[in-house]
């Protein structure tokens, strides 16, 4: 190690998409950022601390690396960004993110099995003139690919150190860390040749840019060439270097007139250097054209007939499994919540505090936690799709269909991710090159059924759809769930079509996508993602739902009222009758007259039973009266006229309003209201049963199957999620579109529920 090196503070990981940058980042920093097998997983700049040498290393103090920041960047194919995520990578590398200077060292991560194309970005990065190390990743896959690489030869040609790594197994990480901490001098570039006509045009432009901006001299040529050949890169200078901007436009006009194909000059020039180098350092050991496992899988999975069938089948299986496989785990959690409730009742002193904790907090949180297994299963399945490489194939299969609604295969990944949660779906839209397509995708992604809807779906489907199955395989409940997801997705397509047709007119983007080789999913990462998701879910339940449940319980329990006189009299009479009957039984026992035992005793016992039942009825009515007149009851009743046409009573109305913060709140809200409204003897926390039993004062059911369908459809369409609105605002940089998003989804929700409930009643289904 030399001591003369200036201290390294930031190291940036750059490279093509899907080459293992994040896997390397995780290995270098001990982080757990998301890794998956499709291009465009990372769409944000993420940073972490370089971890020290692992115990058992040589322990050299100079490598313990205090305070080195490692930055993981989104993948990019070139330094001429075409989409938001690539822009992030570009800006970070050239130090154009406010407050973030350019990195001290760039690690250019390269997929060894795909060297030639990866070298395009490498040569661009080398032209930036920063200290650079090339990480030749995926070296573990070289054998199978039948490739050998002359690493020393490659390093010599590139003029920078090349470190062999296999990030997934951790091989080469220590060597990479050392190379980074002992960085090479600034890269010199490889000396590729631009066609003379363009070279002659770039030189004066570089000079003009140098005079008008603070771009470091070593980068002037690259920046000038970028501005000449790429519109997004030119746009940067319109304000910051207006004279240079004008010069570029003039130069373009002059070149166009001759004509010189300046736009492709950089690509042909760089590949002109790369192709012979790649031919030199890469040796194909296996016969070319050999059919790989990936090819065989693809032949089936993207087959004309099997492909779409498999895709549909996969989705159906996921929703089926989410329904049936989760049941044992759900039962276990339900049981645990019940036991906890009994334990709390036993331990806590009787009184308001006990009631708040058991009927409010535990009921609210427990009824939501029950759905954790389902959500984890969904994440597991989506994780497998992402990790194997199947996700990219769905984009390939779906592109043509997506084009019909003005989107492309590129928006398939955001839309599928949104089945887990709209937020990663909205973020994933960053990979879309067409800005209008990105906005449309963000606008429709929240219609995709997300995991926060699962609790609502499962609760009402389990309560109202019979458990049987079609042909003994396809369960009705799973089928119902699938149709809710299909409904949301179809509406997302329809909304996209409308937006493309009337608002964001245009031909739509191109669809150029790399199809990665299939890989075995990594159990470690799948597990990690499920653990992370559980944490998010539990923390949400712990914070939002816990607090809201207590508030809701208090609102549902107060003010405390006296029973109305008629009810009070009824309760008193029933209690009196029961007491009399008990006394008579005691008298009989005491009198010891055996002849009374038969007839008289039986009639007194039945009188007692009747009196007890009447007392219970009165008690329930009293509890119902209490909750109806509670704060939330009054609020719900005030809303009822608006929601009544959809078939919703005051409880559902109040629950819907509460769930505008987050969808699953409706489940805990209903649970809390029912629990506050139930008399204290009732130990059951199972909301499903309370819902089915609930009636209006006239004895008709509150939840008919028609009401349940109307409510489910409301939840398919309504945008009840603060976080989605906040992220959409951040990604679109305005409140306007998020507001439109909320509005159109509410109109859809109200409109469809209205049509379904009123239509159903007309058909006599109510």
């Amino acid at each position: 190690m030399t001591e003369t090196q200036t201290r390294v503070r930031t190291v940036a990981l750059a490279g093509n998409p899907n080459v293992g940058k994040t896997t390397l980042f995780n290995a270098l920093t001990g982080s757990h950022q998301k890794v998956a097998n499709y291009p465009g997983v990372t769409v944000e700049r993420k940073s972490g601390r370089l971890a020290g040498v692992r115990a058992g290393g040589d322990g050299a103090p100079s490598t313990s690396a205090p305070g080195v920041e490692v930055v993981d960047l989104p993948g990019t194919y070139s330094l001429a960004p075409k989409s938001v995520d690539e822009r992030v990578a570009f800006d970070a590398l050239v130090g154009r993110i406010p407050g973030e200077p350019a990195p001290d060292v760039v690690v250019c991560v390269v997929d060894a099995t795909n060297l030639e194309r990866n070298l395009y970005l490498v040569t661009q990065v080398l032209d930036l003139g920063l200290p650079t190390v090339v990480a030749l990743n995926m070296t573990d896959a070289l054998d199978e690919a039948g490739i050998e690489i002359d690493v020393a030869g490659l390093a010599e040609r590139l003029g920078v150190p090349v470190v062999e790594t296999a990030a997934r197994s951790g091989r080469g990480i220590d060597a990479l860390r050392e190379a980074v901490l002992d960085p090479p001098p600034p890269a010199q570039g490889v000396g590729w040749e631009l066609m003379p006509a363009v070279q002659a045009a770039v030189a004066p432009l570089a000079e003009a840019l140098g005079a008008e901006s603070d771009v470091p001299p070593s980068q002037l040529h690259a920046e000038a060439l970028g501005a000449l050949t790429s519109d997004p890169l030119l746009a940067v200078w319109e304000r910051r270097a207006p004279r240079f901007h004008q010069d570029v436009l003039d130069t373009r006009a002059a070149l166009d007139a001759r004509p010189v194909m300046y736009r492709m000059a950089e690509m042909t020039g760089r590949y002109g250097w790369i192709s012979p180098v790649a031919a030199d350092v890469v040796r194909q050991t296996a016969a070319a054209g050999q059919v790989t496992v990936s090819d065989k899988i693809d032949a089936v999975v993207t087959h004309r007939v099997w492909g779409p069938l498999i895709f549909g089948g996969v989705l159906l299986v996921i929703f089926q499994a989410v329904f049936s496989w989760a049941v044992p785990a759900m039962d276990a959690i339900e049981w645990l919540v019940g036991v906890t409730g009994q334990g709390m009742r036993a331990v806590l002193p009787d009184g308001v505090f006990e009631d708040v904790m058991v009927e409010g907090a535990l009921t609210g949180v427990g009824n939501v936690l029950v759905f954790l297994p389902q959500i984890l299963l969904l994440f597991l399945f989506l994780g497998i799709m992402e990790d194997t490489g199947y996700m990219a194939r769905t984009a390939f299969i779906m592109d043509r269909a997506m084009r019909k609604v003005g989107l492309s295969g590129g928006s398939v990944v955001p839309m599928l991710s949104a089945y887990a949660c709209a937020i990663p779906g909205i973020m994933a839209a960053r990979t879309l090159a067409d800005e209008r397509e990105r906005i449309i995708t963000i606008m429709v992604v929240p219609l995709q059924g997300c995991s926060a809807r699962l609790p609502v779906y499962v609760l009402f489907i389990a309560a109202f759809i019979p458990a049987g199955s079609l042909f003994g395989v396809i369960g009705y409940q799973g089928l119902a769930m699938t149709s809710l997801y299909v409904l949301g997705t179809l509406m997302a397509f329809a909304a996209a079509w409308v937006l493309r047709k009337w608002v964001f007119k245009g031909t739509g983007s191109s669809f150029v996508m790399e199809l990665p080789p299939y890989r075995m999913p990594q159990p470690r990462y799948l597990w990690r993602r499920m653990v992370d998701r559980s944490k998010v879910f539990v923390v949400r339940a712990g914070k939002i739902i816990f607090g809201l449940s207590i508030v809701l319980w208090v609102l549902a329990s107060y003010p405390k009222l006296d029973p109305p006189p008629a009810l009070a009299a009824q309760m008193e009479a029933a209690d009196q009758a029961a007491q009399d009957a008990r006394q008579s039984l005691v008298d009989i026992d005491l009198s010891g007259r055996a002849e009374l035992e038969g007839t008289e005793r039986a009639s007194i016992e039945s009188a007692l039973e009747a009196a007890d039942a009447e007392s219970l009825v009165a008690q329930n009515e009293w509890a119902g009266y209490q909750v109806r007149n509670s704060y939330i009851g009054r609020f719900g009743h005030a809303l009822e006229p608006i929601m009544r046409p959809l078939g919703f009573d005051w409880k559902i109305s109040a629950g819907i309003v509460a769930s505008f913060a987050a969808r699953e709140v409706i489940v805990s809200a209903l649970a809390t209201i029912y629990s506050a409204g139930a008399d204290a003897d009732e130990e059951s926390l199972a909301l499903r049963d309370a819902i089915k039993a609930d009636t209006y004062p006239d004895g008709t059911k509150v939840f008919t199957p028609l009401v349940a369908v109307s409510l489910l459809v409301f939840f398919v369409f309504a945008l009840q999620c603060m976080s989605t609105l906040a992220i959409a605002k951040r990604e679109l940089n305005s409140w306007f579109w998020p507001a439109v998003m909320w509005g159109y989804m509410f109109v859809l929700a109200y409109g469809f529920s209205f049509a379904i409930y009123q239509g159903g009643k007309l058909l006599g289904l109510g």
């Binding site: 592109d399 295969g409 790399e514 199809l515």
Partner: protein
């Protein structure tokens, strides 16, 4: 002949361009002299899956129509 006219299984070499090709395709290596294999078409007949420089690439036919090729 343009790239979109090739049938699955066919190979060809890029010789030039007709009209404006997305820059992305050039950056990914579809420069003149590059050989391309059409691996298959998507179930709905579009996009096409290509093998270029050892990796698989999905490209729409109307974009492939900008690439002029010659049989290898």
């Amino acid at each position: 002949m343009t790239l979109d006219a090739l049938a699955p299984g066919a190979t060809a070499v890029v010789t030039g361009y007709a009209g404006e090709l997305p820059a992305r395709l050039l950056e990914m290596g579809l420069v003149p002299g590059t050989s391309i294999e059409v691996v298959r078409l998507a179930p709905l007949g579009d996009p096409m899956e290509l093998k270029v420089r050892g990796f698989l690439l999905s490209v729409r036919k109307d974009e492939a129509a900008h690439v002029v090729v010659e049989n290898a």
